[in-house]
């Protein structure tokens, strides 16, 4: 329930008087404002829980065993507890992106002023689709982005408070809160990345961003090496600036791991991407980095301990990860440099300019003294080291990716390195194997002897999808003739070899889907070459179009992927965005065949990003590790009610058609993932021609990867016109066997009007003439 005072406040913040679009029903929403939308979604896509822990240990009543029908001392049951933990994970993830946004905006305002304009170039007029959609504000300046972040932060407080003992208890309400936070995560990510683009002049309004070097083998270890790790480019861009000012850009290597690497290559194409998060420990142990500059998120918390093992030094540059280090921001640079070089001290430096100067100076002085620390383990040395193994198999038991490490080490001891290489390609880089080993087998160093040291290529992140591209592909996506948009996102906790991302991405690019990538997934997509030595980024066009392969950038650039779906509703279908969340999410759910794939999702951020996709109507396919997130959103196609409103007749129609079938699902193998992706791209709005194309890929992938026609094919064929010509005879026989009957085909399917909402069916019809 909104009070008049709050509404007035909102109107002031979003400048409601501006007439770029009428203000919709939910400006700057609280949880209850979109609760009915969530409950409608979750009526079809019910939360499916796989508890990772049977207990609750959050308060001093506990520990409480919640097994089965047990309730905790506060009254919570196991389903409520799962919803609670999911909401908490989303809060943590969203707080990271929003905290990143808050920091980077503050930093840029300090440098450029609050009124610094947001201009994303001639190709991007809808600059911030999420902020327009959720807040109802058209941000013009860095100061406006700050307002968006402040709103998101205030909502976070409310949701986080609901996790306290004796607050929310209902699992679906916890899910609604998680969905709310997921939505706001995309607001925070968008604010962060748009600020970075305008503040650092990252590429925008262009598709063909530079191709940059990728791989640990791309780093010239003969030069002084600065490694940046994390997600926030404030320090790394200062390093590049300092090197440019001093004429040192070609004399010092700047390389990165995880998203800071992607951000840095958006700033300088001379910077190198070492690789994803899973190669962090591996690379630090090579000793190649003289100086490690850590910012925030996904940095090993034992970074200084690991650095000391190889004589590297660490500069922590974020208040979010001070790591117990002495803060020296106000000390003279040369004094800090001296202590770092001579005493190998690590420091916290929150002045990014100073951190950059110190990093460069230390790297220059330290590098000649550390030449001997950059020597890689040879196969002969690895064979010798492997002999320490007593085959106790503690390493195998500790490995979260279930790798046969002891067996691999045994073979290495006999000079056979194939299995060790196989393990490295599947290693997620946690280092638990070494921790568990009582005999000092140096697994991560041994991997140096089997890792490929070749150089791959990655396209630098390009930021938002251009409005001009949306105009071109809007119709084919909505009608289904471009079979889908497939976004490979998230971390590198992959279940099998790292090349699986490149293989899946290429399969869909070949099939003329639009392939979009971000974060660690964007890097690993470049880590596979074809027989001509080309990576996916060199083989496929960088356009947001059929068969294109687009790297949007880092984690926070994920907002541009969901932003593209929003823009399709706005730019192609003319639906107003302004504070009009339900109508747009409903459009995306029923018409935009987009699917997210987080094959190696690890973090709370990934949980939050995926949940934000789900509230917007975008299904997500997850790899097997993600079952540990505890929750999926699944339907049961045979049993569930697939009734929607026909926007044209305003009558309820049982479509009998489970599209999209799930909102969030974990699958075990790459093969099943690809079939599931193709299936989840189907939408009720597909034209017969579009559905034919989508079914062609679904059937073809199923036949190749699983065998035979998909057993649920009859659910997705509405009329004979949907049947792909190539498979017609076979499919007709199958349909006869199944006793298939025609289903209704709707050109304006919508959930609006099927539940209590401020959004009206007229709002859907009015804008959706196309």
């Amino acid at each position: 329930m909104e009070g008049t005072r709050r509404l007035e406040e909102i109107k002031k913040i979003i400048r409601a008087e501006e007439d770029w679009e009428p203000v919709g029903p939910t400006p700057m929403p609280h949880v209850p404002d979109l609760r009915n939308w969530d409950r409608r979604l979750l009526k079809t896509y019910k939360p499916f829980y796989a508890p990772f822990c049977d207990l609750c240990c959050l308060c001093t009543y506990g520990k409480c065993d919640l097994t089965g029908t047990n309730r905790g001392a506060c009254g919570i049951d196991i389903a409520g507890q799962q919803g609670r933990i999911v909401a908490l994970a989303c809060c943590i993830g969203m707080a990271c992106h929003t905290g990143h946004a808050a920091h980077i905006i503050e930093y840029l305002i300090e440098k450029l002023g609050e009124d610094y304009p947001i201009d994303l170039g001639p190709g991007v007029n809808v600059e911030c689709p999420h902020i327009r959609l959720v807040l109802g504000m058209k941000p013009r300046t860095l100061g406006d982005l700050k307002k968006a972040v402040e709103y998101a932060a205030s909502e976070l407080v409310h949701v986080l408070s609901s996790i306290h003992t004796g607050q929310e208890g209902d699992p679906v309400d916890y899910e609604s809160k998680a969905l709310h936070i997921g939505m706001l995560d995309h607001v925070g990510m968008e604010a962060a990345d748009v600020a970075q683009i305008v503040g650092f002049k990252f590429p925008t309004s262009k598709a063909d961003t530079p191709i940059v070097d990728l791989g640990w083998g791309a780093v010239d270890k003969e030069k002084p090496v600065i490694l940046v790790v994390g997600h926030n480019p404030a320090a790394s861009t200062e390093i590049i600036d300092y090197l440019r000012e001093q004429g040192l850009e070609d004399k010092v290597e700047v390389c990165g791991i995880c998203c800071t690497a992607l951000e840095t290559t958006r700033y300088s194409s001379k910077a190198k991407i070492v690789g994803p998060l899973s190669r962090q420990l591996f690379f630090i142990r090579t000793g190649i980095a003289d100086v490690i500059v850590a910012d925030e998120q996904c940095i090993r918390t034992d970074l200084t301990i690991e650095a000391e093992k190889v004589g590297s030094v660490v500069i922590a540059s974020s208040d979010k990860a001070c790591r117990g280090l002495e803060e020296v921001s106000d000390r003279p640079s040369d004094e800090i440099v001296k202590e770092m070089v001579e005493q190998r001290k690590h420091f916290l430096i929150l002045d990014h300019r100073k951190a950059a100067e110190v990093a460069v100076k230390v790297a220059l002085e330290l590098s000649p003294r550390r030449k001997d620390r950059k020597t890689l383990m040879t196969k002969e040395q690895a064979q010798e080291a492997a002999k320490a193994c007593k085959v106790c198999r503690n390493c195998e038991q500790a490995c979260p990716n279930l790798l046969p490490l002891a067996s691999a080490v045994q073979k290495a001891a006999q000079g056979d390195f194939e299995e060790l290489k196989w393990c490295f390609e599947r290693c997620i880089g946690c280092g638990k194997c070494e921790e568990a080993c009582n005999h000092g087998v140096p697994f991560q160093k041994m991997f140096q002897s089997v890792a490929s040291w070749e150089t791959w290529k990655c396209r630098a992140g390009r930021g938002p999808i251009m409005d001009t591209e949306i105009r071109k592909v809007g119709a084919p996506i909505v009608l289904g003739t471009i079979p889908g948009v497939v976004a490979f996102v998230g971390c590198s906790n992959f279940p099998e070899e790292i090349e699986e991302i490149a293989e899946m991405a290429e399969e869909f690019a070949k099939r003329k889907y639009i392939v979009v990538l971000s974060g660690c997934s964007a890097m690993v997509a470049g880590m596979k070459k074809d027989k001509d030595g080309l990576t996916i980024y060199e083989k496929y066009p960088p356009d947001f179009d059929a068969g294109g392969v687009v790297n949007v950038g880092s984690c926070v650039a994920n907002s541009h992927i969901t932003g593209a779906a929003i823009k399709i509703a706005n730019i192609f279908a003319n639906l107003p965005l302004r504070a009009n969340y339900e109508v747009i999410a409903d459009y995306v759910l029923n018409r935009v065949g987009a699917v997210g794939v987080a094959w190696g999702a690890m973090s709370q951020k990934a949980a939050s990003i995926a949940t934000g996709c789900n509230r917007l109507g975008i299904p997500v396919v997850l790899g097997p590790h993600s079952s540990k997130y505890r929750r999926q959103y699944l339907s049961r196609k045979e049993e569930d009610d697939w009734t929607v409103m026909d926007g044209r007749t305003q009558q309820l129609v049982n479509t009998q058609e489970p599209t999209p079938e799930h909102l969030c699902i974990v699958v075990e193998s790459k093969e099943r993932a690809m079939v599931t992706i193709a299936k989840l791209c189907m939408r009720k709005n597909d034209t017969p021609q579009g559905r034919q194309i989508k079914l062609t890929h679904y059937i073809d992938l199923h036949k190749k990867l699983i065998g035979g026609l998909p057993p649920d094919l009859h659910h997705f064929i509405r009329t004979e016109r949907d049947i792909p010509m190539f498979f017609k005879r076979e499919v007709m026989e199958f349909l006869k066997e199944k006793g298939w009957e025609k289903k209704p085909v709707l050109s304006l399917p919508t959930l609006i009007g099927t539940y209590k909402s401020k959004a009206k069916i007229e709002d859907v019809v009015g804008g959706a003439k196309k």
Partner: protein
């Protein structure tokens, strides 16, 4: 309480699987079930026990016990090569989602299953799936035939250090099922 082989599956509660080493006892549980189901995962395609695939053992168990099969992931083709047509091909989470519902009609349309046997999954994913059934499907019992202990199952094999022991158990189970 038995510790699972992979530490990622360490139990954080109190209700854990009964460890089963005797093929006769396992066969008895299977025979007693009115509507058992065997759910096969993709690791069964790669794990070798001696010169045979784990999948071959699972198919033999299905044949010997006349147990319907749900082929998950991409296991269907190989199961068919081994001479059995799977009764269903849901993916792992989809079949679990059905099994949770006591009113579900089962893969044969005869009612939900009362015993669900699993083999061939990643141990972490498998244990997560079994957690779902332990908490939300009190109407059924679960059994695992993989080499490692699954705490969330109702009945689990122990951690076998040697494949020979595992092989002997699986062969014993097949014999017992055939004998009925």
């Amino acid at each position: 309480m038995t510790m699972p082989y992979h530490k990622v599956n360490v139990l954080t509660g109190f209700k854990s699987a009964a460890e089963m080493k005797d093929p006769k006892a396992l066969a008895k549980i299977i025979k007693r079930a009115e509507r058992p189901l065997l759910v096969i995962g993709p690791r069964a395609l790669n794990i070798k026990i001696g010169d045979k695939l784990f999948l071959e053992y699972l198919v033999e168990i299905a044949k010997a016990g006349n147990i319907p099969i749900c082929a998950t992931a991409h296991t269907k083709g190989k199961i068919e090569e081994l001479g059995l047509v799977p009764d269903s091909t849901y993916d792992i989470m989809e079949i679990l989602n059905h099994l949770k519902d006591p009113e579900w009609k089962g893969v044969k349309g005869e009612g939900n299953h009362d015993l669900v046997i699993f083999g061939g999954f990643r141990t972490d994913l498998g244990n997560q799936g079994l957690s779902t059934l332990k908490h939300f499907a009190p109407h059924l019992k679960t059994m695992t035939l993989c080499k490692f202990y699954y705490p969330h199952a109702t009945f689990s094999l122990p951690n076998f250090r040697k494949d020979e022991e595992w092989k002997a158990l699986l062969e014993g189970l097949i014999e017992e099922l055939k004998a009925s």
